[in-house]
Amino acid sequence: MNLLSLLIFTPVLFGIIILILPSSMRASYKYLTLAATLVQLVISIAIYLHFKTGPGFAGINHEDQFQLVQKLPWINLDLGSAGKLQIDYFVGIDGISVTILVMSALVMVVAAISSWEISSNLKGFFALFLLLDMAVMGVFCALDFFLFYTFYELMLLPLYFLIGMWGGARREYAAIKFFLYTLFGSVFMLLVMVGLYLSVTDPATGNHTFNIIQMMNPKNYAAGSVFSTLSHTTILGMPARMVGFVVLFIAFAIKVPVVPLHTWLPDAHVEAPTPVSIILAGVLLKIGGYGIIRICMGIFPDAALSSAFWLGLLGVISILYGAFNALAQRDLKRLIAYSSVSHMGFVLLGIASATAEGISGAMMQMVSHGFLSAMLFFLVGVVYGRVHDRDIYHFRGLASLMPRYTVYVMIAFFASLGLPGFSAFVAEAFSLAGAFKSSSANGLLPQWMAVCGAVGILLGAAYLLWTLQRMFFGTTSLKGGEIWKIALIDIGLRETLALLPLALMALALGLMPSLVFGKVNDAVLALVSFLQVK
C-alpha cells in the first residue's frame, strides 16, 4: 500500500466508522478523530524520515524524481475520434510538499484536540472534519490536475457546513461568503484546466492528459493549441498563457489570501469554531502558496516571471496592509486573522523573487505560519471558550490570573513577531533576503520591496506587544468581574498537550532550520533553474 494513499484515505476510514457507530456512542467520536489524525501524523513522520534528498530527488518538473508515486488509471473513456479521456489517480511528493504534509498532519492533531469544545451534532462535525482532512492531504499529494481539482473542491463542502453550522453569530454570512469567494476562483480554474487538458498530450500514449508535470514541459503542447508557448493565441487581447496564469493565480490568491482578495478571511475566522479556524489558518492558506508554486509557476513559468513584479507588489501590500489592519482591531481573533494576511504576504514576496533564498523562505514561512497560526487560534479559543468574549479591552492583567496560558501566549506572540530562535525569524529573513537579492540575481523585483517588507516586521511587533500589554499585563481587571475571574482558569493538560508540540516545533525549526531547508533545498534549486531556463 502506498504511504501517501494511506495518508490521504485514513481519515475516510475513520469517518465511515463514525458514521456507522450509533449516536449513543457519540462520546467516542472525538477519540476516533484524534486517533485518525495521530495515525496520519505517524505516517507523515515516516514519510518525512524516509524522504530522500539529493539532486536526483528534486522533483518539480521531473516525474521520475518524485517519491512515493502512485499512478492508477482512474477515468478512461474512449471518445472515438476525439481520442481517449485519460484521468489518473496520480499522487507523489517532492521537497515542496513533504514538509507541508508533516505540518498539516500535526495541525490536524491539534485541531482534533481542540474539537473537544464542540457539543452539538457530533456525528456530523467529526465526519465533515475527517472529510476535510482527507481533501487537504489529497491536494498536497495530487499530481493530476483533475485529481487536484477534485480534492480542492472537496474541501469547500465540509468547510461550508463546519462554519455555517458550528460557527458564531454571523456564521451563515461568513460561510456563504467563504464558499462563494473560493468558488469564484475555482470555477475559472476549471476553465483553464480544461484548456490545458486540450492543449497537452501525453507523449507516451498520445492522449490528452491532466498530468501536471507533463503540463510543465512546453514540448507536450500540441502546436496551435490555446496554451502552447509557440501559438500566440490571445484571449480578450491578452496572451492566452498570461490569462491562464492570472486566472490560476487569482484562484490561489484568494486562498492565501492576498490583498485585496482577503476579506473572506477575517469573517470566516471570527465566525468559525476554534478547530476550523486552526485548520483554516494552519493548513488551508498554505494550499494557496503551494498552488502558486506548484501549479502557477510550474505550468506558466514564462507568465510568472513576467508578472513577478506585480506578485511581489501584492506581497508587500499584503504584508503592510494586513499589519496595519491588525493594529486597528479590538477583537483578538480578527487581529490574528489580519496578522495571517500580513505573514502570508511574506510567502508571496518570497515566491515572487524567484531566488533560492526567497522561495526557501516562503516555504519556511508556510510551515512556520502553519504551526504558529494554529497555536494563536487555539489560544484565542481558550479565552473565548471560557467567557465567550474576546474583545481586547474587556481583559486586563490575565498574566496574574492565567500564568501558564500567558507563557504560551508570549511564546506564540514572540515567535510570530519574528524573534530569533523561532521559525518565523528565519522564514521572514530569507523571504526578504531573496526579495532583495532578486534585483541583482534576476532583475525581477526592485530592492525597495524588501525594505518595505521589513517594515511589516516592525508593525508585527507593535500590534502583538500592544495586545500583550493591554490584555495580559497590568493589574487584573475584567469586564465580566468575579464571574469571569472564576471562569478563567489556567490551561489544563489537554490544552497543554495541544500547545506544547506547536511551540516546540516553532522552536526546533528556529534552531535547526535545516529540518525544512534540508528537505526543500533540492526542489527549490530545481525550481529556480527551471524558471530561469524559460
Binding site: 482577503h262 476579506t263 496595519f324 533576503a433 499585563f473 493589574t475 534549486l525
Partner: protein
C-alpha cells in the same frame, strides 16, 4: 542549544590546533553556561530560591573561562572556528565564533560586570515574589549578550542582537502588574525593533552584495568590504555591484540599529523609561552591557563606513551627548539622571567612532561599564533605603526623587565614598579610569576637527561643553543625595530612620567595581591615556603620537574647569537657603521636559500610525469588503431583475398569448351557442359584409 554547542564543538575543532581548540571550547562554554543556568532554572527550579545560586555559579564559571579565553586571545592571532548551520539554496549559513581582541575583551567585560550584579541581586531581590524568575531572565540575558559578542556571522549576530532586546524586554517589565513598567518594556522593544529592521536590511544588503554572512570574510583585514569601491554612482564589490545609494541604506540600517540599542538620538527615549526595571537590571543591562552593544556593532562593521558616514556618526554622537547632558541637569529622578548620563556617555563613544578614535571609543565603553554600573548599584541602595523609610513610616513619596534625599553620607558612609569614586570617574577627573578614556576622545575629536576644517570644530567644542555639563549634573546629584540635610526629615521630623550600607552582598560588588573604576587597572600612568593597554591594543594604523598641542591643553582645560563647575554646584546646592536656578524659562522647560521629544513621538507619531491603521481598517470594511458585499448585492439585484423579467416578460408573454387565445375563444364561443337565430344573424352579417366589400372593391 547545549547540544548544538556540543555538535559545533566536535565539528569545529578538527581544523584547529590543540590550544586554539581549547580556547574555542572555553569560549563556547562561557557563552553556554548562563543558558544552562536558564534552562535548569526554567525546568527544574521554577519557584526555587536556589535559582539565584545556579545563575551566579554559572556566571562565575563563565568569568573564569572568559579570563582564560582573554589571555589566550588578547594580542594573539585571531581564532575563528565555524561549521555549517544550514544551507539555503547555495548559500551556507555558518555557526561559529570569532575571537579577536574586540570579542575577547567584551567576552571578559560582560561576566566581570554581571558577576557583581548577580551577587548584589541576591540581596537586592530577596523579598521579591519573582525571585527565581528574575534570575532566570538574568541568565538568559547573560547568555544572549555573551553570544552576541563572540558570534562570527551576521545572522547569528542579529539573532543574539534581538535576544538581548528580548531579555531586556522581560526584565524591564519584570513587575508586569505595574502599568508604567509594561508601557516601558513595550516601548523599549518596539523602538529597538526599528533598529532591528535597520540591521536586518543592512545584513540583507551585505549578503546580496557579497554573498556571505561571515564577519571575518566581510570585514576582516583583507575582507570583501575593504576591497569594495564607490565610483560613478556604483558600489562595486569583488563579485557584484549595485547603485551607490544602497551602501548608504546599509549604513542607515546599521545606524538605526546603533541608535536604538545604544540610545542615540532620535531613538533614545526608551532608555529613561526602561528604568522601570529593577535597579540591578538597569545597572547591568541599561548602563553597562546591552546599551554598549551598538558601539560594539560599530566596532565589528567599522570598515563599512566612508568618511561622510563617519562624520554623520560624529555629529549624532556629539548631539546626543550634549542633549542628554542638558536633560540630566534638571531631572529629579535619581535613576533618570543616571539614564540620561548613560545616553550622554554612549554619545561620546559614538562620537569617538565617528572621529576615528576607534580605540578610545572601545576603551571608554569598558571604563564606562564599570563606573556606570557602580553608580546604578549605589542608586539601588539609596532607593532601597528610601523605600524602607517610606514603608516604615507610611509616607506617600517617590523613593527615587532626589529632592527628598540629602545628608545621606552620614547614614550610608561606604555607599557615599563609593559614589564619589564613581562620580569622579564619570566626570573624568584624573586618577580615575574615566579620565583616561574620555580625554582620549576629546583630544582626538580636536585633532579630527582640525583636519576637517572650521565648521567641524564645533563638534569637539560641544563635546568639551558637555563634559563640563557632566561635571555639573553629577555634582548636583551627589550633593542633593549625600550632602546637606535629610529633606524628608526636615518635612516630617518624627519619621524613624534606621538604614545602613547593607551586608557584604551589597558591599563586595561595590568595592570590586570601585576598584575597577580607578586608573591602575587600565594604565600604569594616571595621566596619559596613550599608555592604557586597551587603547594600545586597538590602535589603528594611523596612530597619533603625542606631537600635538591638544594632548596637553585639552586635559588641563577640561579638568580645571570641571573642578570649578563642581565647586559651583556645591555652592548652589550644598548650602542651606542658597540661591537656586529659576525653575522657569524656556531652557529650563526644554531640559525638564526632555526636549519635548517624547511629547512629539506620542501624540504625533504613535497617534498618526494608529489613525492610519484605523483608516485602513475602515477602508477594508467599507471599500474592499464593501465592494465584495456590493458585488453580492449586485448579484442579488440582478437575480431580482431576472426574476421580474422572468415573471412579467417571459412568463407575461406566455400569459398574454394564453389570455389572447382565451379571449378569442370566449368570443368565438358565443357563436356556438346552438340558437338558430344567432346562426341566421351571423350568416346575414357575413353575407352583408362580403357584399359591402365587393361593392367597395369594384
Amino acid at each position: 542549544m547545549v547540544r548544538k554547542n556540543k555538535k559545533l564543538k566536535t565539528n569545529l575543532i578538527k581544523a584547529l590546533s590543540h590550544t586554539d581548540a581549547q580556547t574555542v571550547s572555553f569560549a563556547i562554554w562561557a557563552v553556554a553556561l548562563p543558558f544552562v543556568a536558564f534552562a535548569v532554572n526554567l525546568l527544574l527550579l521554577f519557584r526555587s530560591r536556589i535559582a539565584a545560586l545556579v545563575s551566579t555559579a554559572a556566571i562565575l564559571a563563565s568569568l573564569i573561562l572568559a579570563v582564560k579565553v582573554f589571555f589566550a586571545v588578547w594580542n594573539a592571532p585571531v581564532i575563528h572556528a565555524q561549521t555549517v548551520w544550514f544551507t539555503v539554496g547555495t548559500a551556507k549559513v555558518p555557526l561559529g565564533i570569532l575571537l579577536n581582541n574586540l570579542s575577547a575583551l567584551m567576552l571578559l567585560l560582560v561576566p566581570v560586570i554581571a558577576l557583581p550584579v548577580h551577587i548584589y541581586s541576591i540581596a537586592y531581590m530577596k523579598d521579591d515574589n519573582g525571585y527565581s524568575r528574575y534570575f532566570r531572565y538574568l541568565s538568559l540575558f547573560c547568555f544572549s549578550m555573551l553570544g552576541l559578542v563572540v558570534v562570527d556571522n551576521l545572522v547569528l549576530l542579529y539573532a543574539f542582537w534581538e535576544l538581548v532586546g528580548f531579555s531586556s524586554y522581560l526584565l524591564i517589565g519584570f513587575w508586569f502588574t505595574r502599568q508604567s513598567a509594561v508601557l516601558a518594556n513595550k516601548k523599549a522593544f518596539i523602538m529597538n525593533r526599528i533598529g532591528d529592521i535597520g540591521l536586518l536590511t543592512a545584513i540583507v544588503i551585505l549578503f546580496t552584495q557579497y554573498g556571505t554572512f561571515d564577519i571575518s570574510a566581510l570585514f576582516g583585514a583583507d575582507g570583501l568590504v575593504p576591497l569594495s569601491t564607490m565610483a560613478a554612482g556604483m558600489w562595486a564589490g569583488p563579485h557584484s555591484a549595485m547603485p551607490e545609494v544602497w551602501q548608504y541604506v546599509a549604513f542607515g540600517g546599521i545606524f538605526l540599529a546603533v541608535a536604538a540599542k545604544s540610545a542615540q538620538f532620535p531613538l533614545h527615549t526608551w532608555l529613561p523609561d526602561a528604568m522601570e526595571g529593577p535597579t540591578s537590571v538597569s545597572a547591568l543591562i541599561h548602563a553597562a552591557t546591552m546599551v554598549a552593544a551598538g558601539v560594539f556593532l560599530l566596532g565589528r562593521v567599522y570598515p563599512l563606513f566612508n568618511a561622510t558616514e563617519l562624520t554623520i556618526l560624529a555629529v549624532v554622537g556629539c548631539f546626543t551627548a550634549f542633549m542628554a547632558a542638558t536633560i540630566a541637569l534638571t531631572q529629579n529622578d535619581l535613576k533618570r539622571i543616571l539614564a540620561y548620563s548613560t545616553i550622554s556617555q554612549l554619545g561620546f563613544m559614538v562620537l569617538a567612532m565617528g572621529v576615528g578614535a576607534y580605540a578610545s571609543s572601545l576603551f571608554h565603553l569598558v571604563t564606562h561599564a564599570f563606573f556606570k554600573c557602580l553608580l546604578f548599584l549605589v542608586a539601588g541602595i539609596v532607593i532601597h533605603q528610601m523605600k524602607h523609610i517610606k514603608e516604615d513610616n507610611n509616607l506617600d513619596i517617590d523613593p527615587q526623587n532626589i529632592l527628598h534625599m540629602g545628608g545621606l553620607r552620614k547614614k550610608l558612609p561606604l555607599t557615599f565614598i563609593i559614589t564619589l569614586i564613581g562620580a569622579l570617574a564619570l566626570i573624568g577627573l584624573p586618577l580615575t579610569s574615566g579620565y583616561l578614556s574620555k580625554d582620549g576622545i576629546l583630544i582626538q575629536a580636536f585633532v579630527w576637527a582640525e583636519s576637517k576644517g572650521a565648521v567641524f570644530s564645533i563638534i569637539p567644542y560641544v563635546a568639551l561643553l558637555t563634559s563640563w555639563l557632566t561635571a555639573f549634573y553629577v555634582a548636583r546629584l551627589v550633593v542633593k543625595v549625600f550632602f546637606g540635610d535629610f529633606r524628608l526629615q526636615k518635612v516630617n521630623p518624627h519619621i524613624h530612620i534606621h538604614i545602613g550600607d547593607g551586608n557584604w552582598l551589597y558591599k563586595a560588588p561595590l568595592l570590586l567595581l570601585a576598584a575597577c573604576s580607578l586608573f591602575p587597572l587600565f594604565s600604569k600612568s594616571p595621566v596619559f591615556y596613550e599608555d592604557a593597554w586597551i587603547y594600545k591594543s586597538f590602535l589603528p594604523s594611523n596612530f597619533l603620537a603625542r606631537e600635538n598641542i591638544y594632548h596637553t591643553i585639552v586635559p588641563v582645560l577640561v579638568n580645571i574647569l570641571a573642578v570649578v563647575v563642581i565647586y559651583a554646584a556645591f555652592a548652589i546646592y550644598g548650602r542651606r537657603n542658597s540661591w537656586s536656578f529659576p525653575q522657569r524659562g524656556l531652557l529650563y522647560r526644554l531640559s525638564y521636559n526632555e526636549w519635548y521629544i517624547d511629547r512629539f513621538y506620542n501624540p504625533v507619531v504613535v497617534k498618526a500610525v494608529l489613525l492610519f491603521s484605523r483608516l485602513l481598517y475602515a477602508f477594508d470594511r467599507k471599500v474592499v469588503d464593501g465592494l465584495v458585499d456590493s458585488l453580492a448585492g449586485a448579484g442579488i439585484a440582478l437575480s431580482k431583475i431576472t426574476d421580474w423579467f422572468d415573471r412579467y416578460i417571459v412568463d407575461g408573454f406566455l400569459h398574454l398569448v394564453t389570455s389572447v387565445v382565451q379571449t378569442i375563444g370566449n368570443f368565438a364561443r358565443r357563436f356556438q351557442s346552438g340558437k338558430v337565430q344567432y346562426y341566421l344573424y351571423s350568416m346575414l352579417l357575413v353575407v352583408a359584409v362580403v357584399f359591402i366589400f365587393k361593392l367597395i372593391w369594384t
